[in-house]
C-alpha cells in the first residue's frame, strides 16, 4: 500500500479540524436563533469527508445530503457563503433560498445538494454518466447514510453505474441510525458494503473514524473509477455525536444509549489521527495550535459576514423559480 505523504496527512488533519471547529461554532451560535434552518451536524464523522475529498480534484463532483457541512468544507467550499446561507442572507450560496440542506458551489464541484434521503445517489451517477459521455476525466461521489441504503434508488443507481462502468464512488456513512431508528430496526444484516455484490461492485467496509484508512481505500477506488473500471461502494462505520438535527445531544431524550455515545467518543476521529501524526512527528503541537487559530479566524469572519449581510428582499421570493437566459 502506498504510504500517505506527510503533506497529505497534514492536509487531512486540517480538513477534519476545520469541520469540527465549524460545527462547534454552529453549536455555539445556534441557540441565538439567528440561523433559522435545521442543522444536521457531523461532529464525530469528520474523517469520512476529509478522507474521501482528500482524493478529489476541484472539478470532481460530490453530492451530499442533509448532513452536508463536512463534505462541503472538505471539497473546498467558501465558508462565508455557506455561513451566510445558514443565516438566510442574500449573500448565501443559494441567496437564502436553500438554507442548510442545499448548499451549492459549482466552482468546486458541488452542483447542489438534496435532503431527500437517497436522492444524492442517483444524481452522482448522473454526473458520472456525463463525465463518461464527455470523457472529461472527472469522478463523482455520492455521500449518503445507512438509512439511504434502504431506498430503492440506491439499487437502481448501483445497477446502472455498474452496467455502464461509471466513475462513481458510493460512500455510505453508516452511523447506525436514521434519525432515531437503529440499523437493526431497518436492516436484517449489518452489511451495507455487500449490497453491491450482485452488481460486482467492489465493496469496502472500513473504520469511518480512521481517516488514513478511508483515504487509502478511496484512493484505490478513485483510481479505478478514473481508469474506467467502474464504481466502488465504501461503507464507513462511524457515529454522530449530536442528535439527528440541532446542536444538542439526544441520549437525554432516550434516543440512544448514553454509553454507546461515550464509547464512540473515545474513538474521536480527530484525536485518533492527532495522536498518530504527533507520535510520528508529522506535525507538532504548535502547528496544530496554529491551524486552530487560523481556522477559528476564518470561521469568525464567516459568522460576521453572515450576520452582517443583508437579508433577501421580499421581491426575491419569486426569482429563480426558472432559469432564465440573459
Amino acid at each position: 500500500m502506498a504510504r500517505t505523504s506527510p503533506r497529505t496527512m497534514r492536509r487531512l488533519f486540517h480538513t477534519m479540524l476545520k469541520i469540527r471547529r465549524f460545527e462547534e461554532k454552529i453549536v455555539e451560535r445556534y441557540p441565538e436563533q439567528n440561523m433559522r434552518t435545521p442543522v444536521h451536524l457531523c461532529i464525530g464523522q469528520e474523517a469520512i469527508a476529509a478522507g474521501v475529498c482528500g482524493n478529489l480534484k476541484k472539478g470532481d463532483y460530490i453530492f451530499s445530503t442533509h448532513r452536508n457541512h463536512g463534505h462541503c468544507l472538505a471539497k473546498g467550499m467558501d465558508i462565508n457563503t455557506l455561513m451566510a446561507e445558514f443565516y438566510g442572507r442574500i449573500t448565501g450560496c443559494s441567496r437564502g433560498k436553500g438554507g442548510s440542506m442545499h448548499p451549492v458551489a459549482p466552482e468546486c464541484g458541488i452542483l447542489g445538494t438534496t435532503a431527500i434521503v437517497g436522492g444524492s445517489i442517483a444524481l452522482a451517477v448522473g454526473t458520472g454518466l456525463a463525465s463518461r459521455l464527455r470523457k472529461d476525466g472527472r469522478i463523482s461521489v455520492a455521500f449518503f447514510g445507512d438509512g439511504a441504503a434502504d431506498e430503492g434508488i440506491f439499487h437502481e443507481s448501483l445497477n446502472f453505474a455498474a452496467l455502464k462502468k461509471l466513475p462513481v464512488l458510493f460512500v455510505c456513512e453508516n452511523n447506525f441510525y436514521a434519525t432515531n431508528s437503529p440499523q437493526t430496526a431497518r436492516q436484517p444484516h449489518d452489511n451495507i458494503a455487500k449490497r453491491g455484490e450482485s452488481y460486482h461492485i467492489p465493496g469496502f467496509q472500513v473504520d469511518g473514524n480512521q481517516v488514513l484508512t478511508i483515504y487509502e481505500t478511496v484512493k484505490k477506488a478513485a483510481a479505478r473509477a478514473r481508469a474506467g473500471k467502474g464504481p466502488s461502494l465504501i461503507e464507513c462505520r462511524t457515529y454522530r455525536w449530536k442528535g439527528h438535527v440541532g446542536p444538542d445531544c439526544d441520549y437525554e431524550r432516550g434516543c440512544r444509549p448514553e454509553k454507546e455515545l461515550r464509547d464512540w467518543m473515545k474513538r474521536c476521529p480527530i484525536e485518533l489521527f492527532q495522536g498518530h501524526i504527533l507520535a510520528n512527528k508529522i506535525i507538532t503541537a504548535a502547528e496544530i495550535n496554529h491551524f486552530i487559530k487560523a481556522i477559528d479566524k476564518e470561521i469568525a469572519t464567516a459568522v460576521k459576514f453572515g450576520l452582517e449581510s443583508p437579508l433577501p428582499d421580499k421581491t426575491d421570493l419569486i426569482k429563480h423559480v426558472f432559469f432564465e437566459r440573459e
Binding site: 448565501g92 433560498k97 434521503v117 431506498e151 431508528s181 431524550r253
Partner: protein, 367 residues
C-alpha cells in the same frame, strides 16, 4: 428547540381554559387519542412509518403507542417509502387497516406510484371486488427554514386522482373525528395535518366519534363574502373576520374539512347568500384546490357570483429557506382581508389594516 417548534404570532387555543366542563385537548393529542382508541378497538388497525416509535413520536402524535401496543402494531420502518406503501396496500387488500405516517408531506412523491397507480385504482380495477382501507397521514406547514424539500403542502395533487379521498382537518375535534372516519371508510384516505395547529386546543369528546367525510361546516355566519378556508387558513380567516367585523364587514367562513369528497353544496349555498368568494389555501396557487373550488363555482353557481373570485394561496415558487422570504411566502389574515375588501369594492385601502391579536377562542365543537 426551534426546529421542532412552530412559531405563530398568537396561540389562541392553548391558553383558553375549559370553562364549560367540556374536555379541551390539543390537535396533537386528538390525533394520538384517535389512533390509540382505534388500535384498542380494531385489531386490524396498525401504524407504520419512519420514527413512529421514537421518543419524538411524529411530533407527539404517536408517543408511547409502541410501548402500549408493541412493535407489530406501531412499526418503525426503513426509509423506503414506495415499497412500504406497497406493503401497506397489500396488507390492506388482505383486510388490515394500516395507517402510514409521514413526518412531512414532501416524502409522498416517492410513493406516488403506489398511491396513484395502486391504492387509488384498486377498487375500480377489480370492479369493486377488493378495496383498500388505507390511511396515509402526512404533515404540512412551514418548519424552521426547512426550504423546498421539507415544507410542501401537496394536498391538491391528490384531488386529481380518482379513487383517493382527501381529509384536511383544521380543528382538534375534526382531527379525531375525521381520522376515525378515514379508518372506517374502506378507501384510501390522504389525511393531511397542519403542523402550525398542533398545539391548538379545542373540544374533543373522549369517546370514539366520526366526522363524516364530505361534510363541510360553516364556522362563522356572515352576509358580505364567503371565505372558504382550508386547514390552518381557518385560523387566519377567523382573525380576518374580527378585523373586518370591526369595519362592519361580515364574512361567512366555510371549512370544507375534506377536499374529496368536497361539500360543494355548502359552498354554493353560501355564495348564493353572499355573492362573493374568497378561497384561502395553504398550498401553491396554480393547480391548487383554490382553483378547483373557484372553477366549481364558476361552473355551477355562476349566477350567484357578484364579483371575481379571489384565491389567497402561496405564490408559485418552491418554499424558500430564509426567514425573510418565508415571511413573504406564507399568506394570512392580511391577505384575506385585502381580498375581501377588494371584492367589496373597498380597495382604496392602500395600507392593510392591522390584524387584531387577541385570542379568538372559538369553540370548535359542533359538527
Amino acid at each position: 428547540m426551534p426546529w421542532t417548534k412552530v412559531f405563530i404570532d398568537q396561540d389562541d387555543f392553548a391558553a383558553t381554559p375549559a370553562t364549560d366542563g367540556l374536555r379541551w385537548i390539543t390537535y396533537r393529542d386528538s390525533l394520538r387519542e384517535a389512533q390509540m382508541q382505534m388500535l384498542q378497538h380494531d385489531a386490524r388497525v396498525f401504524i407504520l412509518g419512519e420514527g413512529v416509535d421514537d421518543p419524538g413520536g411524529i411530533f407527539g402524535t404517536t408517543v408511547g403507542l409502541c410501548e402500549i401496543f408493541g412493535k407489530d402494531r406501531v412499526m418503525d420502518i426503513a426509509i423506503a417509502e414506495n415499497g412500504l406503501t406497497g406493503v401497506a396496500i397489500g396488507a390492506a387488500l388482505a383486510g388490515m387497516k394500516p395507517i402510514f405516517v409521514h413526518m412531512r408531506m414532501d416524502f409522498l412523491p416517492i410513493c406516488m406510484d403506489q398511491i396513484i397507480n395502486h391504492a387509488a385504482k384498486w377498487c375500480y380495477m377489480t370492479g369493486g371486488k377488493v378495496n383498500v382501507p388505507l390511511v396515509v397521514r402526512s404533515i404540512i406547514g412551514r418548519g424552521w427554514g426547512s426550504a423546498a424539500q421539507h415544507s410542501q403542502a401537496l394536498h391538491s395533487l391528490f384531488l386529481h386522482i380518482p379513487g383517493l379521498k382527501v381529509a384536511i382537518p383544521a380543528t382538534p375535534y375534526d382531527a379525531k373525528g375525521l381520522l376515525v372516519s378515514a379508518l372506517n371508510d374502506g378507501n384510501p384516505v390522504m389525511f393531511i395535518e397542519h403542523r402550525w395547529v398542533y398545539d391548538y386546543k379545542g373540544h374533543v369528546p373522549e369517546e370514539i366519534y366520526a366526522v363524516p367525510l364530505g361534510k363541510g361546516i360553516v364556522r362563522r355566519q356572515g352576509k358580505d363574502a364567503t371565505v372558504v378556508a382550508i386547514s390552518q387558513m381557518l385560523y387566519e380567516a377567523v382573525k380576518a373576520s374580527k378585523a373586518l367585523a370591526a369595519e362592519g364587514i361580515e364574512i361567512e367562513i366555510i371549512d370544507p374539512r375534506t377536499l374529496n369528497p368536497l361539500d360543494e353544496e355548502l359552498i354554493f349555498d353560501s355564495v348564493r347568500k353572499t355573492g362573493r368568494l374568497v378561497i384561502g389555501d395553504v398550498g401553491c396557487r396554480t393547480g391548487g384546490v383554490g382553483a378547483e373550488i373557484a372553477s366549481r363555482v364558476a361552473e355551477k353557481a355562476f349566477p350567484f357570483l357578484k364579483e371575481s373570485v379571489a384565491i389567497v394561496a402561496l405564490a408559485d415558487t418552491p418554499s424558500p429557506a430564509s426567514h425573510a422570504l418565508e415571511m413573504a411566502y406564507y399568506p394570512g389574515a392580511e391577505q384575506i382581508i385585502a381580498s375581501v375588501k377588494r371584492l367589496l369594492g373597498n380597495n382604496k385601502v392602500s395600507e392593510l389594516a392591522p390584524v387584531p391579536g387577541e385570542p379568538t377562542s372559538i369553540l370548535f365543537r359542533s359538527r
